[in-house]
């Protein structure tokens, strides 16, 4: 019976924590929920900076520094490279979050949504979050070396172009759809 009491107490505490999280005031990112204009904003996606990052992290530079520079400079450059990689990861996450916001806004404003699509998106965001934290922690504690960015270059360059086109197109399509719905309905999209 003590075991049952312990288990149920844990369940109740977990449920109360979930409740507090679900009811707390939304953060800045959530308050921008239906701001579709921000989703179609022009400008480069972060993935498109990959070529520059690759150049900054070139192994040739490190070899040159090791030959000519002091060990302090090599360490400093290595640290800087790690920071650049971390920053790049953060920006990739922003791209991901931007897409998620678009998807949530479209789902919230749709008369019917597919459970399968929504579950898949939930799973993808959990997966992304887990991988992101793993890589970040690895970099942060020096457990993982800064990757050979060359090997990723081709793939990400391709993706960057696709993302650039796709995000813009998706944003425009969503914004147009909302605009059309607003016109037909005769009211704004202000759901606050």
């Amino acid at each position: 019976m003590t075991a049952a009491l312990f288990i149920f107490s844990l369940i109740v505490v977990a449920l109360l924590l979930l409740l507090a999280w679900a009811l707390r005031a939304p953060g800045k990112s959530l308050r921008r929920k239906f701001d579709l204009a921000s989703l179609e904003e022009s400008g480069r996606r972060h993935a498109t900076y990959f070529a520059l990052i690759r150049q900054a992290a070139s192994p040739a530079d490190m070899e040159f520094l090791a030959r000519r520079g002091s060990p302090q400079i090599v360490r400093r450059v290595r640290r800087e490279r790690r920071n650049v990689a971390l920053l790049y990861l953060t920006q990739l996450r922003e791209d991901f979050q931007r897409l998620l916001r678009l998807a949530r806004a479209v789902a919230a404003l749709s008369p019917a949504v597919g459970s399968r699509q929504e579950l898949e998106r939930l799973w993808l965001s959990l997966e992304f979050s887990w991988r992101y934290q793993m890589i970040r922690a690895g970099f942060h504690y020096g457990l993982l070396p800064v990757p050979q960015l060359n090997s990723l270059s081709h793939m990400v360059s391709q993706l960057a172009v696709q993302m650039e086109t796709c995000l813009k197109e998706l944003g425009e399509r969503a914004a147009t759809a909302v605009q059309m719905a607003s016109t037909l309905d005769g009211s704004g999209v202000d759901v606050a």
């Binding site: 479209v106 949504v113 699509q117 991988r131 070396p145």
Partner: protein, 265 residues
């Protein structure tokens, strides 16, 4: 009535006053237009108090008839509670047809899982069937409601502070009943003195606390929100797979990033 412990009588009196205040606020602030089932829930709670008063005075506090009648009246209250909570949830999601439909599916899945668990537990200990059924109901209720609240947060759907207070109150009440029921079972089995009084008074204290929060929230009117313009049904079907495909691509980048580092010689 004299057989009732003074603590229970005091809590009962406070409970009646607080419930009458809540009922008064629902009527005066005209919340009954939007929350008729919530009004019914509060009214039924007051009726249950009157009914139990009659039963205790006729059959005593601990007789089998009293136990049967009080559990029977509890079923009516639990049904009213579920309907009132569903009504509040509907008020939050009524403009979002897609998410409302998704919420119902989520409630059905959560309810199915927890009811299966409650039934199997009740079979294992037939002596405690009523208590386990009560705990099972509250567990089902709170899991389903919190799942829906998480859904609401995930889709960044705005909730009025009154609805937050009402749903939060329902969840806290059910969570505490789950804990108190389990505690009572543990105390009773150890022959702890006055375990029944502890059980009753704990539930009443939580209920009074929740009602006070509701009374405070009900003083404010609900903010009138504009109905958002919904998208054409095709829009979701066209956009959603594309977005998911892009999310998969981004996930793939991270996956390769990770693999490259982990397996790098």
């Amino acid at each position: 009535m004299l057989a009732l412990p003074p603590l229970i009588l005091l809590l009962w009196a406070i409970e009646i006053i607080v419930q009458l205040t809540v009922l008064f606020l629902v009527v005066v602030k005209r919340h009954f237009h939007t929350l008729p089932l919530f009004l019914l829930y509060i009214a039924l709670n007051l009726c249950q108090v009157a009914f139990l008063f009659f039963v205790y005075s006729q059959y005593g506090f601990t007789s089998p008839t009293t136990r049967q009648l009080s559990w029977a009246s509890e079923q009516v209250i639990l049904t009213a509670q579920a309907l009132a909570a569903a009504e509040v949830l509907y008020r939050v999601l009524r403009h979002y047809a897609g998410i409302w439909a998704l919420a119902w599916r989520l409630i059905a899945v959560a309810a199915f899982i927890v009811i299966c668990y409650a039934l199997s537990s009740a079979e294992l200990s037939p002596r405690w069937t009523l208590l386990i059924a009560n705990r099972g109901f509250h567990l089902t209720f709170v899991v389903a409601l919190i799942s829906c609240l998480l859904l609401v947060r995930f889709y960044a759907i705005p909730i009025d502070s009154l609805y937050k207070a009402l749903m939060g109150g329902f969840c806290i009440l059910s969570c505490m009943i789950v804990a108190v029921d389990t505690l009572f079972q543990a105390l009773f089995l150890r022959h702890f003195p006055n375990s029944g009084v502890i059980w009753n008074s704990s539930e009443m204290v939580v209920f009074i606390g929740v009602q006070i929060v509701w009374a405070l929230a009900l003083r404010q009117p609900v903010r009138v929100d504009d109905k958002p313009a919904l998208l054409h049904p095709d829009t979701y079907d066209r956009l959603s797979p594309d977005v998911n495909s892009r999310l998969r691509d981004l996930n793939d980048v991270l996956s390769r990033f990770l693999r490259l580092q982990v397996f790098r010689p």
